[in-house]
Structures are given as structure tokens and as C-alpha cells.
């Protein structure tokens, strides 16, 4: 019986389909997953739940992933939290915009499970369990 504390990951996407898919990738006993549906809710939940990492869509209503990422980087208690952006656009200019907003890494849609797990492992500095 393992008592190892799971890393908590905040998943943020306005699409119920994307959220469910990403949850299924991360939730197989590896991470404790919490979710939010837009950037505003993401920041509220991040402050309240202090996740170990955030995986966030770029295109969202109310507050985009880029804006939310900038807010996270400007927040005293969240600025060190790793953020992986999930984008539909993999072209260099979009990737650059992501990194300029302060994200640690990015993955493109459709999300590749191995890529997401490996990047999450890398930003968390932990082994895949």
C-alpha cells in the first residue's frame, strides 16, 4: 500500500471533451486532478488549492490561458507554479507567445499522452508513478 503523496495538477479548459480527455490521461493513479473551466476560475482555484502544476488551454472565454499565465506569474504565492499550456496552434509565433506569457512548456492538440506526461514529469522534477 503506497502512501506517497500525489502531485496535485490543476487542469483548465473550457471544453468538457478536452477536460475529460486530459483528466483520463493524468488521473490513472498518478496525479490528484482538479479542474477549472476558464482563466478566472483557474486563478481562484490555484490560490485556494495550491496545485503543484497547472495544465491550461490557451483559447478560453473570459480570460485566455496566456492572460491567466501572466497573472499567475505576477502572483506572490503562485509565481513558482509550473504551467504547461495546451494550444491548438503549434506554429513558432504561437509558441513564442506562450513562453512570453511565462509558461514552462507547451503541448499541442490533439494532446499526446506520452508527451503530456513526460513534460509534466519534467516540470515537476519527478518520476512517472
Amino acid at each position: 500500500m503506497s502512501s506517497v503523496k500525489k502531485n496535485r495538477v490543476l487542469l483548465v479548459d473550457d471544453s468538457a471533451t478536452a477536460l475529460m480527455m486530459e483528466r483520463m490521461i493524468l488521473d490513472r493513479g498518478r496525479y490528484e486532478v482538479v479542474t477549472a473551466r476558464n482563466g478566472v476560475e483557474a486563478i481562484e482555484k490555484a490560490i485556494a488549492l495550491r496545485p503543484d502544476a497547472i495544465v491550461m488551454d490557451v483559447m478560453m472565454p473570459e480570460m485566455s490561458g496566456l492572460e491567466a499565465c501572466r497573472s499567475i506569474r505576477a502572483h506572490a504565492t503562485l509565481r513558482e507554479t509550473p504551467v504547461i499550456l495546451v494550444t491548438t496552434r503549434g506554429e513558432p509565433e504561437h509558441v513564442e507567445a506562450g513562453f512570453s506569457s511565462g509558461c514552462n512548456d507547451y503541448v499541442t492538440k490533439p494532446v499526446d499522452a506520452v508527451e503530456l506526461l513526460s513534460k509534466l514529469q519534467s516540470v515537476l522534477g519527478s518520476e512517472i508513478r
Binding site: S15, A18, M21, R28, K109, P110, V114
Partner: protein
């Protein structure tokens, strides 16, 4: 035995041990690589199954028409990989397809398509889906169209899902995409027709899951 020959024997013993450890290390490294390959394969298979489950769940848990249309668009964007999609429903009395929802496209240009006309109209007329595969070439009539899926309820075509350009990082359709299209073909049509039935009967949608 002299000290020199003892040392020589010991050195040979250590060399043999080092060789054996080196062989063991290489075997373990190969085993680790094999385990990593299996992990990646299993992860891909899991994702494949998860995609089908998620698509099916989203379609079947959508009670009203707008939710079904949103679910279809989300499946195409998030699981297949295109942000240019048009969903049509058949209006048999008018003999045409009517645009029900779209994203990333000029809706005015696509609003109505006569059944039997062009690639999209022919898919509605024949019920045979159209797919640009790696080996195939896109239709000259509609070069941006990469897939057109007939939505079927029993033998009847209820509508079509037209998928235009794929996301830049997506190089073509995979086996999972083809299975998603099969699933869309049957389950999306069923979900749409159930939503129409619910609306006609005035059945309210229950709380969403």
C-alpha cells in the same frame, strides 16, 4: 604461488567480474529500453481507448441539440485536430443539407448544400464517408476538405460532418481518427435524432453529468 602470480590471478578474476557486470548492465539497459517502449505503447493504446470513450460519453450525455453540436465540434477540435468544421442536417423535403453549426469557416458560404451536389452533397446522397488519406489526393472540387462523415441513423443519412484543414501539427488521419469517425457516424446521428425527439415531445434535459 608467488605474490605476482597471485595478483595476476586476482586481476584476471576482477576483469572477468567486470566483464560480467558490463554484460549484466547492458542487459538491464536493454530491458529498461524495452519497458520504456512498452510503456509508450500502452500509454498510446490507453489514449486511443480513452478518446473513443470520451467521444462516446460526450455525445450520449448531450441531451439537447446545441449540446450535441458542441460535443461534435469539440471532438473534432480536441480529439481529431481541426478547427474548421461544418455540421449539416438533412432537409429531405427541400433536398438539401442545412448548416447546423460551424467553426473556423465562413458560414454564409456554406449555409445550404444541395443533396447530391459536390463532395459534401454526394456524401449525404450515398451515405459513404469521404476521407483524404495519405495515399489519396484531395478533391479538386473542394481541396480544403479533408473528411466528410455521413451521420447515419439506420439506413438513413441524417446529416454530415465536414472537416476542412487540419491543425498545422497534424499530418494526416490516424487509425484512432478513423475509429472516431465511425463512432461519430453512428452515435452523433443518434444523439442528434434523440435531441430532436426530446424537443418535439417537450422532454426537458436532465442535469448534465
Amino acid at each position: 604461488m608467488t605474490i605476482a602470480s597471485e595478483l595476476e590471478a586476482r586481476a584476471e578474476e576482477l576483469e572477468a567480474r567486470a566483464l560480467s557486470l558490463e554484460t549484466e548492465k547492458r542487459a538491464l539497459e536493454e530491458e529498461f529500453r524495452e519497458m520504456s517502449r512498452r510503456f509508450v505503447d500502452l500509454e498510446r493504446q490507453n489514449t486511443h481507448l480513452a478518446s473513443l470513450f470520451v467521444a462516446s460519453y460526450q455525445l450520449l450525455s448531450s441531451a439537447d441539440r446545441d449540446d450535441v453540436l458542441t460535443a461534435i465540434q469539440e471532438i473534432v477540435t480536441n480529439l481529431v485536430g481541426s478547427e474548421e468544421v461544418a455540421i449539416y442536417e438533412c432537409d429531405r423535403s427541400a433536398g438539401e443539407l442545412v448548416l447546423a453549426a460551424s467553426c473556423g469557416l465562413d458560414a454564409d458560404r456554406l449555409r445550404r448544400v444541395p443533396i447530391g451536389s459536390g463532395v459534401i452533397g454526394r456524401v449525404a446522397a450515398t451515405g459513404s464517408s469521404y476521407l483524404v488519406t495519405e495515399a489519396g489526393t484531395p478533391s479538386e472540387e473542394c481541396p480544403d476538405l479533408t473528411a466528410c462523415i455521413a451521420l447515419r441513423v439506420a439506413d438513413q443519412v441524417a446529416g454530415v460532418v465536414a472537416i476542412f484543414r487540419l491543425l498545422p501539427q497534424k499530418n494526416g488521419f490516424t487509425r484512432v481518427d478513423e475509429e472516431l469517425f465511425d463512432l461519430l457516424s453512428t452515435q452523433a446521428a443518434g444523439a442528434l435524432s434523440t435531441s430532436h425527439l426530446r424537443a418535439r415531445l417537450g422532454v426537458a434535459a436532465g442535469p448534465s453529468a
